[in-house]
């Protein structure tokens, strides 16, 4: 006899003093933040950034994103001690409410492929007021054309939808950024995963 899953409920508009407290300037220590990789971590250091856009084309000011990724060698962090020793957390959390243009951002390294035949990617959880349960999506990289062409998740998608999962590389004054907007609805609605 299986127990019934606890239903999800919305994160609501007021999560930030608990879940993203340091980013929003509240006096409560954060366990997770927008920095996944300290400077000494091996690999190409990148910023992943973008907006969450809802039905009317307006950026969402109160969304929360969480990301999970492998390091540059394609390995996931196995323990807290390993994360502390290497400076790579493998997991980040950022709200869209502190940037003037409602951007989220993560400072990290570009991940390696987690398994043969898969393209490098970052897994994303997106949630906000107005979502009763979070959505899963995934970031791929536009300069990984060959790996993307072989990736089984991207291959399952028609070309025009595939593009919604691919971040665009931009050289910025501070370094390399990948731009990835998440569109909740509309003709360019981001692909969300049944995960």
């Amino acid at each position: 006899m299986k127990l019934t899953q606890t239903p999800s409920q919305t994160v609501g508009p007021y999560f930030s003093y608990a879940l993203t407290s340091e980013q929003y300037g509240y006096d409560f220590r954060s366990l997770f933040g927008p920095v996944l990789a300290e400077p000494q971590v091996a690999g190409e250091h990148i910023r992943l950034t973008g907006r969450v856009i809802y039905g009317d084309g307006v950026p969402v000011p109160d969304a929360m994103l969480e990301i999970c990724q492998a390091n540059a060698d394609g390995r996931f962090v196995a323990s807290r001690a390993e994360g502390l020793a290497s400076g790579f957390r493998g997991f980040g959390r950022c709200g869209t409410g502190t940037h003037p243009a409602r951007h989220y951002w993560f400072d990290t390294v570009k991940p390696g492929a987690a398994a043969p035949g898969e393209a490098p990617c970052i897994d994303v959880i997106v949630t906000m007021r107005g979502m009763l349960l979070h959505a899963f999506t995934r970031v791929y990289f536009d300069d990984e054309r060959e790996a993307n062409a072989r990736d089984p998740v991207l291959a399952a998608l028609p070309a025009e939808r595939r593009a919604t999962l691919i971040a665009t590389r931009e050289a910025q004054p501070g370094g390399v950024a990948y731009r990835f907007d998440i569109r909740m609805q509309g003709s360019k609605e981001t692909v969300f995963l049944d995960l």
């Binding site: 899953q5 957390r89 906000m128 909740m184």
Partner: protein, 236 residues
């Protein structure tokens, strides 16, 4: 090859839909297209890593973790329960994060403009790890109801927000705990968005025995069931 433990799928008979018109903001924010199914082999991501060292000594006690010059106003309550999977197995050493309004129904969040007083001795955020049996425990103040703009004179029932990871990236759960018997529940589209089959899971129940000290606080029990486990057949 033996089957690998993975996480069971979302049970759509107990989970709310993305778009639920009674909760108006979902109409423009919820995804509308079918979700892309993934083979389980592609989704075996773990939850983030953390440990007991990450949790401060007062993180679980919301009556003290932001106290400046006294105790927060309101009814003291103990909120405790177990975090389980669908087979009833405990989720040990798993992170539970909570946040809530104060006794007057006001959140510390700068965007909350409800005209009710802040409490200088109450933040409303806490966290802890479950023990080996999956049990967590918080001491806090019973949150007040507050108005919201979803519909005319709408009021949210008393609730505490919960955030959990479990063992997998996919077992992530963000939910809300309510209080059995609250008359506002029947009017609340967020609570009602959960299908009837799962709705009872959102209700805590009074249990004075969980407090341990007579005359100190009311006790409420709230068990949480995360997705999983799921035995996936080896792929050919």
């Amino acid at each position: 090859m033996p089957a690998k433990p993975s996480v069971a799928p979302r049970d759509w008979a107990s989970q709310p839909p993305y778009v639920y018109p009674g909760y108006k903001s979902t109409v423009k924010r919820g995804p509308t297209r079918p979700l892309l199914p993934l083979k389980s082999a592609l989704v075996q991501r773990n939850a983030p890593v953390y440990g007991h060292e990450d949790i401060g000594p007062l993180d679980h006690d919301l009556t003290r973790n932001a106290a400046r010059n006294g105790a927060p106003l309101g009814e003291r309550i103990v909120v405790t329960g177990r975090v389980l999977d669908e087979d009833g197995r405990p989720a040990a050493h798993t992170l539970v994060e909570i946040w809530q309004a104060n006794a007057a129904g006001r959140y510390v969040h700068k965007a909350d403009q409800h005209n009710a007083p802040l409490d200088p001795n109450f933040l409303g955020a806490g966290r802890c790890l479950t023990d080996r049996e999956g049990r967590y425990r918080f001491l806090t103040i019973k949150p007040g109801a507050y108005p919201w703009q979803n519909h005319p004179n709408g009021w949210r029932p008393n609730h505490i927000h919960f955030s959990l990871f479990g063992q997998h990236f996919a077992s992530r759960l963000v939910t809300q705990m309510y209080f059995s018997g609250d008359p506002l529940l029947a009017l609340d589209p967020i609570y009602l968005s959960a299908p009837e089959r799962g709705r009872g899971r959102l209700l805590s129940r009074l249990n004075l025995d969980v407090v341990g000290e007579a005359g100190f606080a009311l006790g409420f029990e709230f068990d949480i069931v995360l997705r999983g486990p799921h035995e996936t057949p080896a792929e050919a």
